[in-house]
């Protein structure tokens, strides 16, 4: 198979295991490209991509922009804070205005779950979801699985624990779908208040004790506490959260086994991860960031290469 089953990348839920493998195989070749003396290929030189960010982002946006530039695409950037959205323009109007300037692809982050899905019903351009509220963040899940594959050889059969604020995390949802499609076992772990009520219905194990989760898993994907999404208090204090759920080197070394520590960033050092873990050999956090560019190049390349796209 040489092409994706979907015209857009809206979420991991919509794509198949074969799509994921195709993206990974393509990312392998791009990873080689970004380690060359000239880190650029001319594939998308006739394509214009708009990065539309209605929500703040550093890593994802830089990563997408680098991926686009290394594929030689023309790139325009748009962030809601400095735009006419503040003057009351609707999402569809904003996007249609951008598209009428002959843009071929849209990379969008939006605070409302489902915003890219809504858009995909109304416009022709390819859409890549760069995070929609608390729903999905497909490229992050892809790069997480890709990093696991790179580190451990395979995703199938591995045990992955997602630890932290599951309730507000699009990374968690996308990761659960991605890992399950590839045949990994998934556990979520966090304080009861930060676990969605029916999360077990997705077929994941639920654990409240972080030590037990670490004893079970091969890979721990540690998530940030998303204070900006919390309107009420879910736990007494950050200090208490880090006492019960924070991961430090002492805890890791008491396990008598090697586990891989991942984090999608940004890290709140001393809260979910202690510095001695974040900077240790257990952590592959910076590998994740590098793989992010290769994965996004693969996604953009594969979407753009569809005939008639």
């Amino acid at each position: 198979m040489t092409q994706l089953s979907q015209k857009h990348l809206l979420g991991i839920k919509d794509i198949t295991e074969k799509d994921i493998q195709l993206i990974f195989d393509t990312a392998d070749t791009f990873k080689e490209v970004i380690n060359r003396p000239i880190k650029k290929v001319p594939s998308l030189r006739d394509i214009t991509i708009a990065n539309i960010f209605f929500e703040n982002s550093t890593r994802t946006r830089l990563s997408f922009e680098l991926a686009e530039k290394r594929l030689s695409a023309d790139v325009i950037n748009f962030s809601a804070s400095s735009s006419s959205v503040k003057k009351g323009e609707t999402l569809l109007d904003t996007v249609n205005n951008i598209l009428s300037m002959k843009v071929d692809m849209i990379v969008m982050r939006h605070a409302s779950p489902g915003a890219p899905h809504f858009l995909s019903n109304h416009i022709d351009a390819n859409i890549v979801n760069a995070g929609d509220g608390t729903h999905e963040h497909p490229t992050q899940a892809l790069l997480d699985s890709y990093s696991i594959r790179e580190k451990l050889g395979d995703v199938a059969g591995k045990k992955v624990a997602i630890i932290g604020d599951i309730l507000h995390s699009r990374v968690a949802i996308s990761n659960i779908f991605a890992l399950q499609k590839q045949g990994a076992e998934v556990m979520v772990c966090g304080p009861n208040t930060l676990l969605p009520k029916h999360i077990a219905s997705l077929g994941v194990k639920v654990e409240l004790d972080v030590r037990k989760a670490l004893e079970w898993c091969d890979v721990a994907n540690v998530l940030r506490i998303q204070l900006e999404r919390m309107q009420i208090k879910y736990f007494p204090s950050l200090r208490e959260y880090s006492l019960y759920y924070g991961i430090n080197l002492k805890l890791l070394e008491s396990l008598n086994k090697e586990i891989v520590i991942m984090h999608p960033g940004p890290i709140n050092r001393g809260v979910e991860l202690a510095s001695d873990v974040a900077d240790s050999k257990h952590a592959i956090i910076l590998d994740q960031v590098q793989n992010g560019v290769a994965i996004r190049m693969a996604v953009l390349y594969l979407l753009a290469s569809q005939p008639g796209a």
Partner: protein, 178 residues
């Protein structure tokens, strides 16, 4: 479908032998020369040539594989997207004499893409082209090979099938599709 054998295993081995001697003639001990096979099918010819040069001249020639997918000019114009393959160039290209190796030279577009792809690794002193089969009179671009195994006159409706997989007998056919 009609299939006509244009190179049988014996002839093909003589041809490869000649190509290797021509390479030795021009590159002496291959001190400053690297061989680069174009993915996917030039790789097989490259492997055969590298092995043969080892037997003939006793030199282990530096070699690698180059994938041209991302440099092709028919991106988005094909019916099915091309699948990218491994590029493996773990040597310095800067200042080297590079011999690109492919099985069939047809429109010249792959070679154009390959030169582009190669330049991303540095500025070679010289780039040459070696092909097993040169399909004459069908070039879209002004490209010519320095070393040619066999020249054949073909029509666009015909295909050249080169079989060089290690597990099978080496053969080349000309195929007429009705």
């Amino acid at each position: 479908m009609q299939k006509r054998l244009i190179l049988n295993p014996d002839l093909l081995s003589i041809t490869v032998n000649r190509l290797c001697h021509q390479l030795i003639e021009n590159h002496n001990n291959f001190e400053n020369t690297v061989l680069v096979g174009l993915q996917p099918r030039g790789k097989f010819l490259l492997d055969i040539i590298v092995e043969h040069l080892q037997d003939l001249a006793g030199v282990k020639v530096t070699h690698g594989y180059l994938d041209t997918t991302f440099y092709r000019d028919d991106f988005r114009r094909r019916d099915t997207p091309a699948k990218a393959r491994e590029t493996k160039i773990d040597f310095i290209v800067e200042g080297k004499k590079v011999v690109l190796i492919d099985d069939v030279l047809y429109t010249g577009r792959t070679v154009r893409a390959a030169i582009d792809a190669l330049l991303a690794y540095g500025r070679p002193e010289k780039v040459e082209l070696l092909v097993l089969i040169d399909r004459r009179y069908s070039r879209d671009l002004p490209v010519a090979a320095n070393y040619v195994g066999r020249r054949v006159n073909t029509m666009d409706s015909q295909k050249v099938l080169v079989q060089l997989e290690p597990t099978k007998q080496n053969k080349v056919w000309l195929i007429n599709e009705e």
